[in-house]
């Protein structure tokens, strides 16, 4: 009986505690800061490659009664290459899904490491896009940015971005290889050459592009090293002196977004090129397909590369390729 009374007493105490703990608090609308504020997002994805662009969207705003924006400035730790700029418009999307820009001032000016847009309009808040063209001197280094907004009441605010690592690799987009003419591919130069150049510079030629429609077997579009077994070079006359035994590994699901520029979120990075295993790799890749690719190591072991096949054309016997290449030795 005593035990039962104790339990009932404890239950009442817990209930009282529970009810006491559930005191209702009214929602309060947060008070917005009346100071100049800013924020930043990095819009570009994937490895940062020399010659490529890093894109940011920098936003700043102030209560209209307190002032207007007067300028936005970006200072990079390494001066950007030609083509670095800040857009002098902010964008809104209309009912048709089209981004419509509103100009806030004159086009940006870039002096050394600093890019600036001076506001001439009457704007209290705006988001501007900044495009940093990665220069050669940033290769293999880290880079950071300071975004600064100023308001007419004298307030200044800054946002630090980075550091961002700039990769050591190179990238070349949209090389056209054509069977019978421009079919000699140089990884060292990241270019496609004709037979005259190949004969004059045999050391530079790492791959040969061929298109053959053979009976019985499927050959079609193929990438073959000059040293490959002649059965993989059907009806092809090799210019004298070509002797590079490139190592080639076929790939199919490596649709690098920077090379392909399609929807897949796959990126080939420095580490992929550096660590790719070429042991026992052959010197030919027969019947390669669009959206496929090949990993290549040059005969001298100096370069590892990934060649993405953007398109192939059976009628014109052409292949459009894009290349990422890393110097490994």
């Amino acid at each position: 009986m005593k035990k039962l009374s104790f339990k009932i007493l404890m239950s009442f105490m817990l209930l009282a505690l529970f009810l006491g703990a559930c005191k209702e608090e009214e929602f309060q609308i947060p008070t917005a800061s009346d100071k100049l504020q800013n924020d930043l997002i990095k819009r570009s994805l994937g490895p940062n490659i020399v010659g490529g662009t890093i894109e940011f969207a920098y936003a700043a705003g102030i209560v209209p009664e307190k002032g207007k924006l007067t300028s936005m400035t970006v200072e990079a730790s390494i001066a950007g290459a030609t083509g670095t700029y800040m857009d002098n418009k902010f964008y809104s999307t209309n009912n048709s899904g089209v981004d419509v820009g509103a100009t806030v001032g004159d086009p940006s000016t870039t002096t050394g490491k600093t890019t600036q847009v001076v506001y001439t309009g009457n704007f209290s808040a705006a988001t501007l896009r900044y495009y940093y063209k990665i220069p050669e001197e940033a290769r293999g280094k880290s880079i950071s940015f300071t975004f600064t907004a100023k308001a007419s009441n004298g307030e200044t605010i800054s946002y630090q971005a980075g550091p961002y690592e700039i990769r050591s690799m190179d990238m070349q987009l949209d090389l056209m290889a054509k069977d019978g003419t421009d079919c000699f591919i140089s990884i060292a130069d990241m270019k496609v050459y004709n037979s005259t150049f190949a004969a004059a510079n045999p050391d530079k030629i790492d791959l040969i592009y061929l298109y053959r429609s053979l009976t019985n077997v499927t050959y079609l579009h193929s990438l073959v090293a000059p040293t490959a077994d002649p059965i993989y070079l059907p009806t092809f006359t090799m210019p004298a002196g070509l002797k590079n035994k490139s190592k080639i590994v076929k790939a199919f699901t490596v649709r690098d977004q920077q090379l392909a520029r399609i929807q897949y979120g796959v990126f080939v990075d420095d580490v992929d090129l550096r660590t790719k295993d070429f042991a026992d790799a052959p010197d030919f890749a027969i019947n390669v397909k669009a959206e496929g690719g090949v990993w290549v190591q040059t005969a001298d072991g100096k370069y590892n590369a990934y060649i993405y096949i953007n398109t192939v054309n059976n009628t014109t016997k052409e292949m459009r390729i894009s290349v990422k290449r890393l110097t490994v030795r």
Partner: protein, 93 residues
Amino acid sequence: MSSFELLGADFQTVRTKAATIDTTAQTINVEVLYGTDLKNLYPQFTLVIDAVLDPKIVGKVDFSDLSKPKEWTVVSGNRKVRKTYKVYLTVKQ
């Protein structure tokens, strides 16, 4: 063993058609595409439940010596029955 697959370095099939599996003779005959890189292939076996393969396949396999067929032993679930299969490759010409 109910099926046999063979993948290339790009993890796409290199077979020209379905492999022929003879469970009596314990052989697998598979024809691969012209230009297949025979040194870097990934075989895949489909076995009856609980059976295991000996040796285990842990990575790529070199099939380049066509005169010496690769061998794998299928071991039954109770580990009392062992059947060794030979895999014969031919390249489409």
